[in-house]
């Protein structure tokens, strides 16, 4: 069978220090720096604290350990630019992040994004699935995450194939293990 190589390597570019979250994200002012220092982004409208909360939430909703934070952060960066024009969105994000954090503090004595154990964060999310923020992040991730062409190879999806002549000579029928099951 023609198998795909699913691993890709990220480059390191930034070297800075600041507050470190459960995900290992570094917050400096409105900026977030990824833990492998391969990416950084500025959240001038929603602020780096709420952005870090949302990035954590995104990962907890669709936790793929082989995906770097930047793929989740990309969706949240979209919110930051949208919030620049959309006041209702901006205030919804800030209000709902406060709610999540106060639920997290009450039960686990920490802001949501500072809780280290995934089960505890998921527990907080589970009691928050009706919130408009949760619904928005989950809904937007369906396309924001899985429709990002950069992640496709990591799931073993090859995408566009017509320009390569389809799969007629590239393994449409090359399965080789069926006689062993």
């Amino acid at each position: 069978m023609r198998l795909l190589n699913k691993s890709t390597i990220s480059r390191r570019t930034f070297l800075k220090t600041g507050t470190v979250t459960a995900l290992g994200l570094t917050i400096m002012g409105p900026m977030i720096i990824g833990k492998d220092k391969s990416w950084a982004a500025t959240f001038s409208n929603i602020g780096a604290d709420d952005a870090a909360t949302l990035i954590q939430m995104a990962r907890d909703i669709y936790p793929h350990d082989f995906l770097a934070d930047k793929y989740y952060a990309k969706v949240i960066q979209g919110y930051d630019s949208a919030a620049g024009k959309d006041k209702a969105l901006k205030s919804m994000i800030s209000k709902e992040c406060k709610k999540i954090n106060s639920a997290a503090k009450k039960k686990y004595k920490n802001n949501y994004r500072m809780i280290n154990r995934e089960v505890e964060r998921v527990d907080i999310l589970k009691s928050n699935t009706k919130s408009p923020l949760f619904a928005k992040v989950r809904g937007d991730l369906v396309t924001g995450l899985y429709n990002n062409k950069e992640v496709w190879p990591k799931f073993g999806y090859e995408g566009e194939s017509a320009s390569k002549g389809g799969y007629l000579n590239r393994g449409y029928n090359d399965i080789d293990w069926l006689d062993k099951v």
């Binding site: 793929h64 799931f155 389809g166």
Partner: protein
Amino acid sequence: MAKFSKNDDSLVVIIGSGAGGGVLGMELAMKGIKTVVLEAGGRHGPQDFVNDEWASFGQISWLDQRTTSGDWRVSRDFSGLPSWIVKAVGGSTLHWAGASLRFQPHEWKVKTNYGNIKNTSIMDWPIDHKEMDKWYTRAENHMGTLGTGGRERLPGNNNYKVFEAGAKRMGYKNFHTGNMSINSKPYDGRVACQQIGFCFQGCKSGAKWSAGYVSIPKGEATGNLECRTNAQVIKIEHDKSGKVTGVVYADAKGKQQRQKARVVCVAGNSIESPRLLLNSESSMFKNGLANSSGEVGKNYMRHMTASTYAIFENPVYFYRGTTMAGIVTDESINDPKRGFVGGYELETLALGLPFMAAFLDPGQWGRGFASSMERYDHMAGLWIVGEDMPQSTNAVTLHKKLKDQHGMPIPNVNFSDHENDIKMRNHAWKQSTALYKSVGATKVLQTPPYPSTHNLGTNRMSASAKDGVCNRNGQTWDIKNLFISDGSQFTTGAAENPTLTIVALAMRQAEFIAKQMSSKAI
């Protein structure tokens, strides 16, 4: 290419260029009848189709607003998208997978064969399989359907091979790579399938039949067919005698135009067709055109559907090659001992990663969902399609408040499963789960129905005027120069994918219309 005057009242005007309208237009044009097809969408083809699920959805799908109600899960998970159909020349035959199956003889007469089923509006079709035989053959030859007319079926892809191995272990006897309207060898000037795997996104090689780039151009080549794009019909008009005289449509700029007609044929798919008839109400036809029976919009069917996706220890890469690559027909018989009437087909299906994320288990999140997605390349999958029961409460109606960009009330689609549908779905999930487990699946997912791709029954054919909207020729009972020419004329849905039957009926109707016109009956 022909171009006809808007004041020409000798024309046949067809609304919609899909399986029904596109083929009807081609047939009439070939008989020398001057015909205008008004199509709400634009023209796309192999040259500009894209191998990208969401981009293609944005390019050719019908995106005008719709609402939905009823207890089906689609109304919760996809509240603005009750159905998945196309707005472009060729209609949903751009998206379609190509499965082309004849109804089984008993499915033309389900009331006789199943008896009275509670809480349904079940009826026999006013036509039967003997009469349809020659039209099916003609449709298969036009579409190049494999497994018929001496045309060899496609080789199986990886998804099919897993499915076939499971079918054998289950003791199924009737399985193969499908009666697909996809060329296995060059046919009708089109190439053979390249196993590209984006059949739903419009086939980039043109190996798959579509009304858009096969039937419509054949009609246009006669000089008798004009296919006018970006022409969305809003209203059908009539005179004092009750005969239809033409239609009003919005052009590309949203400007209203009036096209005169001798005959009008409605083929906008089962949501838009009844919507148009209902919106064409007048002082003479207060409940909408052709609606003296009150059946316009009712008896909406969408097939009993669901999917089963199985995860294996080893990779499958099920997206390589034809999207729908094989079928088991053993379960399509009517065997009430299973606890339900009617039957279903199992047909392999693969989605790309983006659509899989949206449809595998809508609304789900967390480790369980993520772990299934991480095994995307180890998945095999199939779609279940079975006969659903017509119910008069499952209906397309006009929204009381919301209007579209042309000021026309948007449609609401109300749908709830019948008990028979639920029992059949559970049976199909059980059988298909066992099929995949028999070849070593480590996890099997039972996926709920997608937004409806098969939309049927909302202007149904009946033996008498009080029970339906049109007669055995698709001619409306109330208005003799108004016809129903798409899937909305289905009396019942059968277990089979509907397009071959829609095409065969359109060919049959063309002959009827031509005779009626030449005898001046219409």
